[in-house]
Symmetry: C2
Subunit: 396 residues, 2 copies
């Protein structure tokens, strides 16, 4: 019987404890032996909780317990989580996490540390909540060279953009609604400024291309600039505005990644991904486009992905895998990336500097397809006589 | 270096040979050692083909070759494929297949035979072509009790229904177009009568619920009865007609599976799955709904899924898994299954026997939600005074 510990008894950690207890039969059948939750680390008290007897406030109780083989890290953040994860892996304990900040910041180091100590470091739950994406990328699509991954990776921003689209309301009003309903946090910066999406892009890019793409190398734009006017101008041409995280492999082996709002065309499956749902498109050289869709967050969806990793880890505990990625990614600035663009100016404008274009109001237009370098050059000229309120890529 | 053989040098078998050769570096890096294609069985000659020197017409050349550890079966059908697969597994060779007919008909037997002989029997490519679905079900969603799986599982019928919807043309005309473009076979029976979908439902149900659900236990209705009039009546209420395969687990442990055309509502992600694409929705008790989407067929998408299984098999060749399912499923007739229904009569009709309903033309209506038993009872009464042209379930 393998023994498990959980670090952090918050939403996801609590969900993991529940599933380990409530689906113990299913898990034992799958692993071939039962798994037992032995200890849960949290600084808070949980009087009357059914796991109260397992709680400890002392990390060393877990680190020094030779019976604990697998530790689930649900602390979040990069301070204690980083320190504890390193110390656990160094003793040969396997670590499973949903902590996207940590994997995005230190994945290469932690994967190498795990491998050196014959341990596993798994993080299926770090991207897309319960949607299977990490294992499909590392197993099912293994016969493909991945060329591109893009998607709607953050439920909060998608909920806000969907709300603005459906109700025609402003960003501020919709954010306030989302906060009241618990779909956005009191401090929504990490979501609405795109940082959460950038962390997920970092993980997907690193996995797909085998070299660590750090979030600092991912130009990131959030959705605060999107107004109800942008939403309705886009809709008038059949587009939905979505926050997209994207990473592409260039022919020279360099990787271009970014996070930004896009106008998504009606024929793209992502235009139907609404509310708190996530959708992730993977383009492989053999398979073409495949999409994974579901709730990208939530207590039990995320916890079920953590437990799937626990099961996988328990079944293959003696077969640690070489690191999924290492340091040394070549980062591209994306100047060759082609797309059409939506531009909204602060006043009636003349868009002739962009060559062929399609005016959608007196002050807004869609350009022809042009590479980013040429677009930015044209935009700089345009700015000499106009105020640019928004410039967004189009994804058909 | 592990050696591979391929049975059947048709579309998928040829694609597998190409990927094994052209992505040899990628595959070797993934497995940890190179894989070599040693023999290819086909009764035809392929003069000048780059794999010509590997071709044999004699199955025993492969069966008796002790160096061949993994055999890819791309013969199709249930005659030679069944005999050869059994003989290979009996000698302890692992078999990878895309042959849905064979897995649906003999999966329980072949999985048990593989396990007894410490071999693998893998079939990711049998459902959804290159879309990852088998391994996500058996690994990523392992912490979930699967409650239901439904989806668009056949690209040919979806191409025809999408064509009828977009162009307003008849079934016969659209089928002819599809045949000319190579999206439908000269004898389209297996696709348009729903048998191909039923085989895929059989595999998904067996996997999800652990007991073999044979295609003979799956009531199957194809799309020949769908007329352009049905399509346009459905569209007038925002529905797209799609051929859906579906399996659900009842509270008593019995399984209800069927294949039939449905009216799919605009808010269901499947309504956006068009042309030759497939979409598969899995409902788990923890994760809720997740969807997998992509091209459900095609040479390289399907071959890439076969090769992913080859890689997985080569990496874990010494760790055969217990059978994914066994015999003994309890089959339900689905009389408790609830849905609203679309009914079209051959004449102006009165639908009062169905209780609350919504007339959408003088001869067509949508019922309230009712269970199948009650619906069929009402339909029998209705038939005493009316001709029923079509009766289809609604999926919102």
């Amino acid at each position: 019987m393998k023994q498990i510990a959980i670090l952090g008894f918050g939403t996801v950690g609590g969900g993991v404890a529940d599933i380990l207890a409530d689906s113990a039969d299913l898990i034992a059948a799958s692993v071939g032996e039962p798994l037992a939750l032995k200890k849960v680390l949290d600084l808070r008290d949980f009087p009357g909780n059914r796991f109260e007897s397992l709680l400890t406030k002392n990390f060393e109780d877990i680190l020094d317990d030779p019976d604990i083989a697998i530790v689930v890290e649900c602390l979040g953040g990069k301070t204690f989580a980083y320190d504890y994860t390193k110390r656990l892996l160094a003793t040969g304990k396997s670590v499973i996490t949903s902590n996207k900040d940590l994997v995005a910041a230190y994945g290469a180091e932690l994967l190498e540390l795990a491998y050196q100590n014959k341990a596993h470091y798994l993080f299926e739950a770090s991207v897309g909540g319960g949607i299977p994406i990490i294992r499909p990328l590392t197993h099912d699509l293994k016969a493909n060279r991945i060329q591109e991954i893009y998607g709607i990776l953050n439920g909060t921003t998608n909920y806000i953009l969907t709300g603005m689209t459906d109700k025609g309301s402003t960003f501020e009003d919709t954010l306030r609604d989302a906060q009241q309903l618990g779909y956005a946090e009191a401090n929504p910066a990490s979501d609405v400024d795109g940082k959460d999406t950038a962390n997920k892009v970092s993980i997907l890019a690193s996995l797909a291309f085998g070299k660590h793409v750090y979030p600092t190398a991912i130009p990131t734009e959030g959705i605060r600039s999107i107004s109800d006017e942008d939403i309705s101008l886009a809709l008038s041409k059949g587009y939905h505005i979505k926050l997209i995280g994207r990473t592409t492999l260039n022919d020279d082996g360099s990787v271009y990644s970014y996070v930004a709002p896009h106008l998504v065309g009606e024929n793209n499956m992502l235009s139907g991904v609404n509310g708190v749902f996530n959708g992730i498109v993977v383009r492989g050289d053999q398979v073409g486009d495949v999409m994974f869709y579901g709730r990208g967050a939530g207590k039990y969806p995320t916890a079920s992905a953590v437990v799937a990793d626990v099961i996988d880890c328990a079944k293959t505990i003696d077969q640690p895998q070489p690191p999924l990625w290492v340091d040394g990614a070549a980062i591209s600035e994306g100047s060759e990336q082609e797309s059409r663009w939506y531009v909204r100016a602060g006043e009636t404008c003349n868009a002739s500097v962009f060559g062929a274009f399609d005016m959608i109001s007196a002050s807004a237009f869609i350009t022809k397809s042009m590479n980013q370098h040429d677009f930015i050059r044209a935009l700089d000229i345009f700015k000499k006589t106009n105020t640019v309120v928004n410039a967004l890529r189009i994804l058909d």
